[in-house]
């Protein structure tokens, strides 16, 4: 498998086919694992990292045949391709910019990705469209079980799976759901959501996870604690609260439609107008307008463009995606021009 195989179509998770896909973009499960008998990434030397990487790569390729898994080394991968993978949510920013022998195993449909030597020796990730935490968990757990039959994981009865950072110990599980909440942001009620979820031990992050800003009105809600509860308990805690947030967003959207529909329509159509006609447009502005348009499409205000066109635009207007499509490197100004041109074409329906 080549990276260019991924380029043409976005992963399954962006297909918008999962449950509640209007508001829930994707569900993600991540497991952290380390190998017994080896130093952690934090203290391993170059030789040990190399050894670890080779061993894990071999086991991955042997056990993940059904996923059509390909393995890619980070060290030899051009920076543009690494950024491409970050934009696809297949690797973290830390992994793209990290040092030392490391890589990623990728399933062809992007439902599973396995980072090798990021913070922990292995980070197994499952991504699904919409609200499907259990489906994502099943995929990841299956890979984890297969791998543990040929690799010994560092584990203690008392502390569970042993991780570099104690905040990941125990289950090593980070379960998260990515939500699109433009109405709550517009009416300045998003803080209420933050406060409500933090009371039940969940945390809210921006589009690319820890330390990132909210962009395009996307928010990731995930568990904070990983120890002392079972994996299903953690997943159920999130599953219970998501429908309430969805309901809240829908209620606010409806209220806007009923009581402020001119304001809402103006916001949505202006955003659409900018996207349809701008000759230069930066990333952040694009995300902002796409968010308004996405809400407009969802509410039926804009009917001339489909949801999946908008979903794809979120991804394909990102810097690395844009440059890979263009097949040349572009500086910032050139990117803004190319981005605007790409959006205009897509919105004209010339697929």
């Amino acid at each position: 498998m080549e990276l260019s195989d991924l380029q043409a179509s976005p992963g399954e998770w962006l297909g918008g086919t999962g449950p509640e896909a209007d508001i829930v973009i994707s569900s993600r499960i991540r497991l952290a694992r380390n190998l017994a008998g080896y130093p952690f990434f934090s203290t391993a030397d170059e030789q040990q990292l190399g050894e670890l990487e080779r061993m894990v790569r071999e086991r991955l390729l042997n056990t993940c045949v059904s996923e059509g898994m390909g393995y890619f080394s980070m060290q030899t991968m051009p920076m543009l391709d690494r950024q491409f993978l970050v934009e696809r949510h297949l690797i973290s920013r830390e992994h793209a910019f990290g040092k030392g022998a490391r890589g990623v195993g990728l399933a062809l449909d992007e439902t599973v990705s396995i980072m090798v030597n990021e913070e922990d020796h292995l980070r197994i990730q499952g991504l699904c469209s919409g609200l499907q935490l259990r489906e994502a968990w099943e995929r990841v757990e299956a890979v984890d079980t297969r791998l543990e039959s040929c690799l010994e994981f560092a584990f203690s009865a008392q502390f569970g799976y042993l991780t570099v950072c104690p905040t990941n110990a125990g289950t090593g599980l980070r379960a998260s759901v990515m939500l699109h909440l433009p109405a709550l942001v517009m009416t300045r009620q998003i803080d209420k959501v933050f406060q409500a979820v933090s009371k039940i031990g969940l945390i809210v992050r921006g589009l690319y996870g820890e330390g990132t800003q909210a962009s395009g009105d996307f928010y990731q809600i995930s568990n904070q604690s990983t120890l002392g509860k079972s994996e299903m308990d953690i997943i159920e805690t999130i599953e219970k609260v998501i429908p309430k947030i969805i309901e809240y967003e829908k209620t606010v959207r409806n209220n806007l439609m009923q009581q402020k529909h001119e304001v809402l329509e103006d916001k949505v159509w202006r955003a659409y107008g900018q996207l349809k006609h701008a000759r230069m447009i930066a990333s952040e502005e694009t995300m902002e307008h796409l968010s308004s348009v996405r809400m407009g499409v969802s509410l039926g205000i804009i009917q001339e463009v489909k949801m999946d066109v908008i979903n794809k635009l979120f991804l394909f207007t990102q810097p690395a995606h844009l440059q890979k499509q263009n097949e040349t490197q572009l500086d910032e100004t050139e990117r803004d021009v190319v981005r605007a041109s790409y959006i205009r074409k897509r919105l004209q329906g010339s697929d």
Binding site: N34, A36, G37, Y38, P39, F40, S42, T43, E141, D144, T145, E148, S149, E152, F153, A154, F155, S156, A157, Q158, F159, G160, Y161, L162, T163, V164, C165, P166, T167, A169, G170, T171, L173, S198, K199, G201, I203, E210, Q224, S225, T226, L227, G228, K229, S230, E231, D233
Partner: protein, 172 residues
């Protein structure tokens, strides 16, 4: 109770460190706690301890009373990481560190997660001992549910089964 640092405002952050059979306490107002690096993340009224994010870990350590200078130099037998190094980076050096710094690790995990015992997946190639431990944990969980559901007959059965488990004969 007044803040032990500024001695002016009411203390709302209460740090308790229990180690080596001694207990040390530190009571701070919100401002002093924040300036000393302990951030209040969630509300204090619940019995679950305050949760700590990764980047706050080193700061939380700075102000734990009762952690003596001697324990700073405690070293992991396998990778050589000292407890002090762990405190400043927030990262362990190898799986053995967990055992090497055991008591402190339990306390720390309790502060971070509100608990310090694993309940969840166990690798299938783990030893019999680990599986027995898992069974015991499940029994405790069932006991909890039985008690809160006021099914005392079931609770009594579970209590007896737990006792048998602990005595080394896992049930009939």
């Amino acid at each position: 109770m007044n803040c032990e640092s500024c001695k002016e405002k009411d203390a709302v952050v209460h740090l308790v460190d229990v180690s080596n059979n001694s207990k040390a306490e530190l009571h701070l107002c919100k401002d002093c706690a924040e300036s000393q690096g302990a951030t209040i993340k969630s509300h204090m009224q619940k019995s679950n301890s305050p949760k700590v994010a990764t980047d706050e870990l080193p700061a939380i350590f700075q102000n734990l009373p009762g952690v003596s200078a001697a324990s700073e130099t405690e070293t992991c037998g396998k990778c050589g990481t000292t407890y002090r190094q762990f405190r400043s980076s927030g990262k362990f050096g190898c799986p053995e560190c967990y055992a090497s710094f055991n008591v402190k690790v339990s306390d720390l995990l309790e502060k971070i997660h509100g608990r310090c015992e694993h309940r969840g997946k166990v690798p299938s190639n783990a030893s019999e001992q680990v599986n027995q431990q898992k069974e015991l944990q499940a029994l405790y969980a069932d006991l909890d549910s039985a008690v809160s559901g006021e099914d005392y007959e079931r609770a009594a059965e579970l209590r007896d089964e737990i006792q048998r488990h602990q005595e080394g004969s896992p049930g009939l």
